[in-house]
């Protein structure tokens, strides 16, 4: 486990090697473990709906994902969250839950845009 990192597909680069097989929602093997990622795979991840992959070694960018999200992205994450969440946080722990959820949604927006830009 120490030699593996789970990274978002926006950070996957050619030359990395899969530590775990990629399997789709129907149980079909997309790529076996140890596959060396090539440029052509990067576009396929979007088509396959993959969010994260396990790679061998440490992620190149070890900074937490969340620290790379801009205020603009976080604002868009909040707007997206507000389409489904109509209550307001009532205390510190619900504030923390909201912040974590906004980061997740902002990160998904970033990922979508990175993928669209790379196509």
């Amino acid at each position: 486990m120490k030699n593996q990192s789970v990274i978002p597909i926006g950070e996957v680069r050619a030359g990395m090697a899969l530590a775990q097989p990629l399997i789709n929602g129907f149980g079909r093997l997309l790529l076996p473990a140890e596959t060396k990622i090539e440029e052509q795979h990067l576009g396929l991840f979007k088509i396959w709906g993959i969010l994260f992959v396990s790679i061998h070694g440490k992620a190149q960018n070890s900074e937490p994902l969340w620290q790379r999200l801009t205020p603009e992205l976080l604002e868009r994450g909040l707007k997206y969250l507000r389409k489904r969440v109509f209550w307001n946080p009532r205390g510190p722990i619900e504030n923390d839950l909201f912040k974590a959820a906004i980061r997740m949604q902002a990160w998904k927006i970033l990922r979508e845009e990175q993928l669209d830009g790379g196509r």
């Binding site: 486990m1 593996q4 789970v6 530590a19 775990q20 097989p21 399997i23 929602g25 129907f26 149980g27 969010l51 994260f52 396990s54 937490p64 994902l65 969340w66 969250l81 489904r84 969440v85 109509f86 209550w87 009532r90 205390g91 510190p92 722990i93 619900e94 923390d96 839950l97 909201f98 912040k99 974590a100 959820a101 980061r103 997740m104 949604q105 998904k108």
Partner: protein, 281 residues
Amino acid sequence: MITAEKILQRIDEFRTLPTVYTALTEAMNNPNSSAADVAAVISSDQAAAARVLKAANSPIYGYSGRIDSVNKAIMYMGFAEVKNLVAALAILDVFSNVRISAYFNPVEFWKYSAAVGVIARALAREAGRKGLEHCFLGGILHDLGKLLLYQCAPEEFSQALQTVALRKITLRSALKETVGISHNALGELLAEQWKMPPPIRAVIRYAHTGMNDDKPDELVAAVHIASISAQMFGFGSSSEEIVPEPNEIAWKTLSLPDNIFTKLQEQIIQDYEGTLDSLQL
């Protein structure tokens, strides 16, 4: 229109869980059973044994590639974890033929359910709770009634989901209008038929309230909070648009640290991805 009575009749007809799970339950409930006995039960079902080994070697347990027998899997993962995994896989098999519709995607639903299991377990672990070994399975099964309804009354279930989307009401309210019974109550009946342990049945019946029949309950509270968190994080799809407000008593029951989600977020993502892999989702 199908009635609650007809759905309840269908529960009686519903397939039983695969033999390996019922045999495993018997072996694990027998005080004279050894780890070797339990391993023998799992090993008697080749598919179950292979999936247990695959899960045991996945990154979430940290023993990658080193567990080559069911005996070792039990030793490293523990009885309860192996049993919960076999149960989750058995139930996935029972509902493996459920098809995607405009209002319900079973694969996304299982992803959401797996996320609830992962988050409930992470919250309980972080809070230092003991005796919460049912967190993972309880999380995975808490919305079992939705799958049952989708199998037994697809038209009424889809109609209820449309009503939820249009009128922004809860699925429970919509189901009471269409079939006269909630998915929580139906799920509990199925869990009872499958002889699931009482804590799991309580989660299925009451996780949406955050309390066990109006009484504080750590397991029910953990799954309640995990369910809301999974929906807010966007893991899979619960099939319901609106994310409910957490019950304040559930927060009090768990007494979690204020920054728990920030602290656990990356770990939860890793465990979620590993669990999807283990469950082949």
